[in-house]
Symmetry: C2
Subunit: 326 residues, 2 copies
């Protein structure tokens, strides 16, 4: 069955790592039809709008979207796109790879980040020139849904250690509801779990990342804690992510557009290629997903490495090596 | 001049480390009159209220307060107390000590955390059984005030590296206002500074903590990032903090009541004694503050150590060693 895949490279190194991921997908025996959409600061400069309506439509009608990176206007691109694909779960694995320098080599954690609510509903008011408010919204439905996804994910992937992150001691009603809903899901499923205050969890992740497998978190907590975990494994360069909805999904590296190295052909495409592997997995090409992941891990282990990892390979050379090992 | 100091040990190890800090202060040539107040879960059990009105009054009329730790009801104790002393700046140094195990031994960062607004205003509504909201409030006045404090602090303490943390790409109006106000303060002062998104900062703190000196942050960001930094230096056990207001202040360790080791006389009182040193500094006993800090650092370096640091000294033995080195 043919799948239509929207490809939105975006800004900066997104323009370099996205074609790399498409090359890897094209080297597999899968029936994908790629259609490219534009978005980014360079689009905004021409039209005033960083995310054209055609690109929104493209993402909406495709089976899945590959998104590269965005620059200054990232929030105005990626947040609507997450909405367009109906994504409620942002899945962010943070894993240290053997042979690469990591602050904490034992890190292997999957963050299951709520992707619709909290401060990301962006309900803000400028009450006066000197006072602004933001309304953080938490619903039982969205909280149950992310918890169900998280416990299901843990079960399917053979993880038995699930932690629910929250700040219900201060946000007593909103995170209180999130926590209550998530705990109810765990109890209905008869699943074991721990809960952690997000601040205490930040400390424990730095000290004992090996104690955690799957972490279910509210939106902003997941944003911060998954970046923290990226630091533990050596930076954002290697982290893929999936934005999963009921009928659609978007896959993107956790890193940004890296304007400092953009245009030089030296960006590390690992996170983007691993995001493409998550796309394969999502469309039930499990074997192909594993082949891609294994190939990336082999190249990360044996080289060649891009400059961010101390090597001098180009994006193209790294990608060719991955395709070689498929 | 005699100063009245409120002493609120609170719960758990608060009952053990607070007297240790008072012993150290009593060993100095300072004119303090200590008055003890009650608060904590054990008080709530008897009266239903974790923070009695007498304790609130005591903190209000004292020149400064030493607070130990609180348990389950921590938020219902420490948040009102921070309000009572009019504290707008939460000062949290995170420093690795030579000789002690740390994930990142080069860490030496002072967080200047906004202490009045953001989600800590605790304006929440349970709209229905299934929907709750929280209103996050940001004012120009409070944002300017914390920025002024932060830049002043950096200048006085000889730090030239100041970072303003925010999430203005998503919380565009609220953190936008925070950022705009803080940047205006920097520009009026002619001070250098950087800005960082709080998620990117979480990653960079893990990887390159040596790049940061003073970090000015919104309330919840400061809560999480300072705990993260605690992880970098070996845990909350060693981190003191000051809640500074215009006419009053409260000093507390960053750690909690540690129910797992409470009552055994083995808690590490370093964070509490270092908080007492911050109190001395605040009341302009600069020389005494330095003496206490140096004595704690010497004992941390040479031992004896409490069990959390691999030793077998009791809280009392550690405290006696500090007093010995004054
Ligand atoms: C670009 C930004 C809006 C986004 C977020 O906050 O979710 C990014 O930090 C991420 O984590 O994907
Ligand atoms: C106990 C809790 C309310 C408090 C906070 O969130 O400020 C604590 O985590 C801290 O950092 O002092």
């Amino acid at each position: 069955m043919s799948h239509q895949i929207a490809v939105i490279p975006g800004d900066g190194i997104g323009q370099e790592v996205t074609p790399a991921a498409v090359d890897v997908l094209n080297a597999l025996d899968v029936d994908f039809e790629f259609r490219e959409g534009e978005a980014g600061d360079h689009v905004a400069e021409e039209t005033g709008e960083p995310l054209p309506e055609e690109t929104v439509e493209l993402a909406r009608e495709s089976d899945a979207t590959l998104f590269g990176a965005a620059g200054e206007r990232a929030a105005d691109i990626i947040l609507p796109l997450r909405g367009v694909v109906g994504s409620y779960a942002n899945v962010r694995p943070a894993k240290a790879y053997p042979g690469l320098e990591a602050v904490k080599p034992d890190t292997d954690i999957v963050f299951i980040r709520e992707n619709t609510q909290g401060v990301y509903a962006q309900i803000e008011s400028q009450l006066t020139d000197d006072v602004a408010t933001l309304t953080r919204v938490v619903t039982r439905e969205a909280s149950r849904k992310i918890a169900e996804y998280g416990f299901e994910y843990a079960e399917e992937h053979g993880y038995d250690n699930v932690t629910i992150a929250h700040k219900a001691n201060v946000m007593q009603k909103t995170d209180g509801l999130f926590l209550e809903a998530a705990e109810a899901v765990a109890e209905e499923r008869g699943a074991d779990y721990d809960t952690e205050l997000m601040d205490a969890l930040a400390m424990k992740l730095v000290m004992y990342p090996e104690d955690y497998d799957v972490i279910i978190t509210p939106n902003l907590a997941g944003d911060v804690l998954s970046d923290l975990a990226a630091g533990l494994v050596g930076g954002l360069g290697l982290l893929p992510s999936a934005n999963v909805g009921d009928d659609n999904a978007l896959f993107e590296p956790v890193h940004g557009s890296a304007p400092d190295i953009a245009g030089q052909g030296i960006a590390n495409p690992s996170a983007m290629i691993l995001s493409a592997a998550m796309l394969l997995d999502h469309l039930d090409y499990d074997a192909e997903a594993a082949r891609v992941t294994d190939a990336v891990e082999t190249v990360l282990d044996e080289g060649p490495h891009t400059p961010d990892l101390g090597g001098d390979a180009s994006t193209e050379e790294f990608t060719a090596a991955v395709i070689d090992r498929l």
